[in-house]
């Protein structure tokens, strides 16, 4: 598999407070990578830095062979990196359809066809297309956030704790959808999660993050046995 994302010695933080310390990460085309870690270990910061929301202080980020370390979030999104942030972050005043249109507008291609395809992939959205995003349930909003991200036809999707506050039935549905999407679209996905079952069922490779460093790789089938505080096999 060819390399899509290559991160070398990545460091970043909030103001003068460093959070990430020398992250090295590589994701191949079509690969599903999970990042597991406790609260405050730098999981979300890693995704925000990859997306350009937080600038990298040291290190490089290369996407599809191009250095995007200094690129703006908008430029990275246009290059093919999709981001579904924690807390869904849909546009509450816009209808479901308008949320999808906003997601598709940057592609510059046939919006209607792209949106129709996404709606087929997320049938739960079909009956609620005219409803305002703000009145949807948490699970529906999460599905909408993912669908909106896919409207931009990304090659890599960064998913930040998609199961946070979502009811179990929707989590199962999301799991099935993500599996089929990754296969059908040959998507690369970087999933940050605390839900062990979710990450073990989806990821082909799981990395542990501790105090801003990737501390090792965990066998996805043995996640329940792993002690994130120490019992991790070196990468």
């Amino acid at each position: 598999m060819s390399e899509l994302l290559s991160v070398k010695n990545l460091q970043s933080g909030y103001g003068r407070i460093p959070i990430l310390f020398g992250i090295d990460l590589s994701i191949a085309k079509g690969e599903f990578v999970g990042v597991l870690g406790h609260n405050g270990m730098g999981k979300s910061t890693l995704l925000r830095t990859l997306m350009g929301h937080i600038p990298a202080t040291v290190g490089t980020i290369a996407f599809a062979g191009t250095d995007v370390t200094r690129a703006s979030p908008a430029a990275r999104a246009r290059a093919g990196i999709g981001y579904v942030p924690q807390g869904r972050q849909i546009f509450p005043a816009l209808s479901v359809m308008d949320n999808l249109r906003v997601g598709a507008a940057c592609t510059g291609r046939q919006q209607t066809i792209i949106i129709e395809r996404v709606i087929e992939e997320f049938p739960r959205l079909k009956p609620i297309l005219t409803r305002a995003g703000g009145v949807l349930s948490g699970g529906e909003q999460q599905i909408l956030a993912l669908a909106r991200c896919l409207c931009a036809e990304p090659q890599l999707v960064l998913l930040d704790e998609p199961t946070d506050g979502i009811q179990p039935s929707i989590i199962e549905e999301m799991k099935d959808t993500l599996k089929s999407l990754a296969r059908a679209r040959n998507l690369s996905i970087l999933l940050v999660e605390q839900n062990l079952e979710f990450i073990s069922d989806l990821a082909t490779r799981v990395l542990a993050i501790k105090r801003g460093q990737l501390s090792g790789e965990i066998d996805p089938t043995k996640l329940h046995e792993a002690d994130l505080a120490g019992d991790i096999r070196p990468a």
Binding site: A77, R78, P85, F91, R101, L129
Partner: protein, 343 residues
């Protein structure tokens, strides 16, 4: 429901507005007395002005306290160009182009400087007050651009009337009325059309959350600058219509003018287009009637109206009216339809 079917739903409003405008254009010039005709032309120029802020603030989320700067600039650009060139068609282009160009320069520093909303409001208000002071102090022969004397606080009473394009025949009040009506409807249709385009949706997304929109690949600063420039051009068009209804004077840059347009948008409904135009008409008629009666200062009433709306009808006329209609038609309240995007 298909994507195509959903995208067609916005057209109904435009068709209804077109029908109403057409009826007005045909009936009023033949039926109404001259005084009414000129007044309605004036109201329509203000309606275009209201639309300029309704688009910028309601959809772009940019609270510009100094929209009157573009309004006045448009009128002065028209007057100066018309006096110098003798051709009002070219002057009309200047009326729209000069404020748009000025907004492009000002907006570049505002948006690319990443100024917050509060500073943006303060700076735009300061700009309009600078224009107000500057133009007021341009009395005397020394203050002229080519053959056009700026005239200080007297303004430019000799502003040439708009002529029928490519002729030297000035428009009659009835023709001016028709031109203003066409301008108002065209501007409404333009704004309505703009917000359902990719550009419009992106602008709304930036209004909702700038960072979120950037994460989806939008250049938020460029989008904000673009809507700022478009809005300034519309305000310039309003200035052109106003200059042909009344005359060009520094009051166009005044604080009361800057405040009035904000009141129209708040009362009409932020995030709507028809509401601010309706509020503009209603409040101007009310102000004129109150002024005639002389019982109470119309400005006090305007202030009261603003307070009442902010406290009791924060959504404005149009959303309140739409909600009432929905209730009457027994539409289920738990299934809101996001049509015209409200804040």
């Amino acid at each position: 429901m298909t994507v195509m079917a959903l995208s067609r739903s916005g057209g109904v409003h435009v068709a209804l507005a077109a029908l109403a405008a057409l009826a007005g254009i045909v009936i009023l010039p033949n039926a109404a007395p001259l005084y009414t005709l000129i007044n309605v032309t004036l109201y329509m120029s203000m309606g275009v002005f209201a639309l300029s802020l309704a688009l910028l603030w309601g959809y772009g989320g940019i609270l510009c306290f100094g929209q009157s700067a573009f309004f006045g600039l448009g009128a002065y650009a028209y007057a100066v160009a018309a006096i110098n060139f003798g051709d009002t068609t070219l002057a009309a282009v200047f009326a729209i182009g000069v404020p748009a160009l000025f907004a492009a320069g000002l907006g570049y520093f505002l948006f690319y400087g990443r100024l917050s909303d509060v500073y943006l409001g303060v700076i735009t208000l300061t700009v309009t007050l600078i224009f107000f002071k500057l133009i007021n102090s341009t009395g005397g022969d020394a203050w002229r651009i080519g053959a056009a004397r700026l005239g200080g606080f007297n303004g430019i009473p000799t502003t040439p009337l708009l002529t029928i394009p490519f002729t030297r025949i000035p428009m009659s009040p009835a023709q001016m009325f028709i031109f203003a009506a066409i301008s108002l409807f065209s501007t409404y249709a333009l704004c309505k059309g703009l917000i359902v385009t990719r550009f419009g949706r992106a602008v709304i997304a930036v209004r909702e959350n700038e960072m979120r929109a950037e994460l989806l690949g939008y250049n938020a600063r460029r989008l904000k600058l673009a809507v700022f420039v478009i809005s300034a051009g519309i305000a310039g068009l309003a200035g052109l219509l106003f200059a042909n209804s009344v005359f060009v004077s520094p009051t166009m840059f005044s604080l009361s003018m800057a405040a009035q347009v904000l009141i129209w948008v708040v009362v009409g409904g932020l995030g709507t287009l028809f509401g601010p135009v309706a509020a503009c008409f209603a409040l101007q008629i009310a102000t004129a009637v109150l002024g005639k009666l002389g019982i109470v200062d119309p400005n006090i009433v305007l202030g009261l109206v603003l307070i009442i709306f902010v406290v009791f009808v924060p959504g404005g006329i149009q959303p309140a009216f739409a909600a009432l209609l929905h209730r009457l038609m027994d539409i289920r309240a738990d299934r809101p339809v996001a049509g015209e995007v409200a804040r």
